[in-house]
């Protein structure tokens, strides 16, 4: 393969033992936590965290955690707790928190402090993603969806300034009013690189491109992801630069096995759990009023029509393969698919590479991760198969990682 890719392990840490989709309204917001058994949760958390530690041993470029509330799709309401655990049990791998959901927090300084602590403890291994949180979380946490975007950017600006400017300083914003901003510790890096995972809203893509932040689409068909990445490239061109491949990440669940038949046999039910149960979400939970602009809503409706995008729960396994939501096959087939994605999208980071999916048991995850690391990853790396952190490749999103023109000072 001539393409180069960085591979970030990313398991969502779901809680699989929930009723079938036809028996529940949603896997989010209203699914009763009486379905949660802490004894099962104890086993799951520790398996999931062991998998993140395994990612370092297998030479993944990074491992990621994220924030979701009150659901069975991903049980990491505090991603910094999970990152702390992973940081303590690893020594080299990059740890992506993708991300902290800024508008859901009363005081963004708490995020600035937690992430800076992790960055100092880990010696600068943290990637700090920022997200708005899904629409569902605006029901669960009752943050106002209509002010979420402005809260997001004000919190972002406050955190970046807190990390890069000598304190104390006075912050008088529309949403946050803090007379003494002076967090101890300061981050280990100048500031951790910022990633912006998104669902494809115009506003987020434009801002990400303007600030040269890596942007990531989650669980979308290839065609729709491509449209959004083209939009990012256009926004970058408007800013007068050409984005590096490492500014675009695709999050595509991937399963690899010895034969094609075995790969499908082993992956199918777990992929279906993710799309039919994990993503069982009514529209009124997805898109609370004000969460999107009218323009973005229109774009979403028209995009869905134009590309014939079905609701997650209407997708068959064959749809997932045909529309390229997922990659399943032998190492050779998976590598060819990844090469195709990389070419089509002009992307340089594969997130969710072969991590735990849906209700996949631990043994399959370990097998998938191991086979992927040994047979697929070397094809996208220089001879020697070293991860980015061994080769001294800059972390995506840091000014040093972006070519050809330097990033503006934040």
């Amino acid at each position: 393969m001539t393409q180069s890719l960085q591979f970030f392990h990313f398991g969502l840490m779901p809680y699989p033992s929930i009723p079938p989709p036809e028996q529940i309204e949603s896997t989010w917001v209203t699914l009763s936590n009486s379905n949660y058994d802490p004894v099962v949760g104890h086993r799951l958390y520790n398996e999931y965290l062991d998998q993140a530690v395994l990612a370092e041993k297998l030479g993944y470029d990074g491992t990621c955690v994220n924030e979701h509330h009150q659901n069975a799709y991903g049980t990491m309401p505090d991603p910094n707790v999970m990152a702390s655990h992973i940081v303590a049990r690893t020594s080299k791998i990059r740890v992506g928190i993708i991300g902290n959901a800024l508008p859901l927090h009363e005081n963004p300084l708490r995020v600035a402090e937690s992430v800076a602590m992790l960055d100092v403890i880990s010696g600068g291994r943290i990637i700090s993603g920022f997200v708005r949180g899904t629409g569902m979380e605006y029901h669960s946490m009752r943050a106002n969806p209509a002010t979420s975007r402005e809260r997001f950017w004000e919190a972002h600006d406050l955190i970046i300034k807190a990390w890069t400017t000598d304190g104390p300083f006075d912050w008088q914003g529309k949403h946050f009013d803090i007379p003494y901003v002076n967090p101890w510790p300061r981050p280990f890096q100048q500031h951790p690189p910022i990633w912006l995972p998104g669902q494809g809203s115009f506003e987020t893509i434009k801002e990400a491109a303007k600030r040269r932040y890596p942007f990531m689409m989650v669980f979308a068909p290839l065609s729709f992801t491509k449209v959004n990445y083209d939009m990012y490239r256009k926004a970058a061109a408007d800013e007068g630069y050409e984005p590096a491949p490492e500014q675009l990440a695709f999050c595509v669940p991937t399963y690899v096995a010895e034969t094609e038949a075995k790969a499908h046999e082993e992956a199918r039910e777990h992929m279906m759990w993710l799309f039919h149960r994990g993503l069982k979400i009514p529209d009124y939970h997805w898109v609370p009023p004000g969460y999107m602009s009218g323009q973005s809503l229109r774009g979403m409706i028209m995009g869905k029509r134009k590309f014939g995008i079905k609701d997650h729960t209407d997708l068959s396994y064959q749809d997932l393969l045909d529309d390229q939501y997922i990659i399943v096959g032998t190492p050779q087939q998976v590598a060819e698919k990844l090469a195709y994605y990389t070419d089509e999208l002009g992307a340089g980071i594969h997130v969710a590479s072969s991590a735990q999916i849906g209700d996949m048991p631990n043994w399959k995850v370990v097998k998938n991760m191991t086979l992927f690391a040994e047979e697929v990853m070397p094809l996208f790396r220089p001879p020697g198969n070293q991860p980015a952190w061994e080769r001294g490749v800059p972390v995506p999103g840091t000014p040093a990682s972006l070519s050809p023109t330097p990033a503006p000072t934040l």
Binding site: Y138, A143, P145, P288, P289, G290, G294, R298, I301, M302
Partner: protein, 99 residues
């Protein structure tokens, strides 16, 4: 399938409402305050308010010690604009009745 123009328009209306009342959804002090109003009151409600449910005006009338609820026929949330004459008449009649 829904007309996108209609969907976007309705969504933008809901978004404006969310900006105002998503959080807090209600004023916890309001019921106690309403019971302290000592003058007569007219609560004017819409016939079918899709933004603020009719139950809100019902509750106001219930809590105000000396209140009367009147709904203006043929109105949604914007009753002052939708039926200006009927609305003005209701207010004038009420003021006349309390002199």
């Amino acid at each position: 399938m829904t007309d996108p123009d209609v969907a976007v328009h309705l969504y933008e209306e809901q978004s404006t409402l969310a900006r105002l009342v998503w959080n807090p959804r209600y004023d916890r002090k309001m019921p106690r305050r309403l019971t302290r109003v000592s003058c007569p009151a007219l609560v004017l409600g819409a016939e079918h308010d899709r933004l603020v449910p009719n139950e809100a005006s019902d509750r106001y009338a219930e809590l105000l010690p000396d209140a009367r609820l009147q709904r203006i026929p043929g109105t949604g949330h914007g009753l002052v604009i939708e039926q200006p004459e009927l609305t003005a008449r209701a207010i004038l009649d009420f003021q006349g009745s309390t002199r």
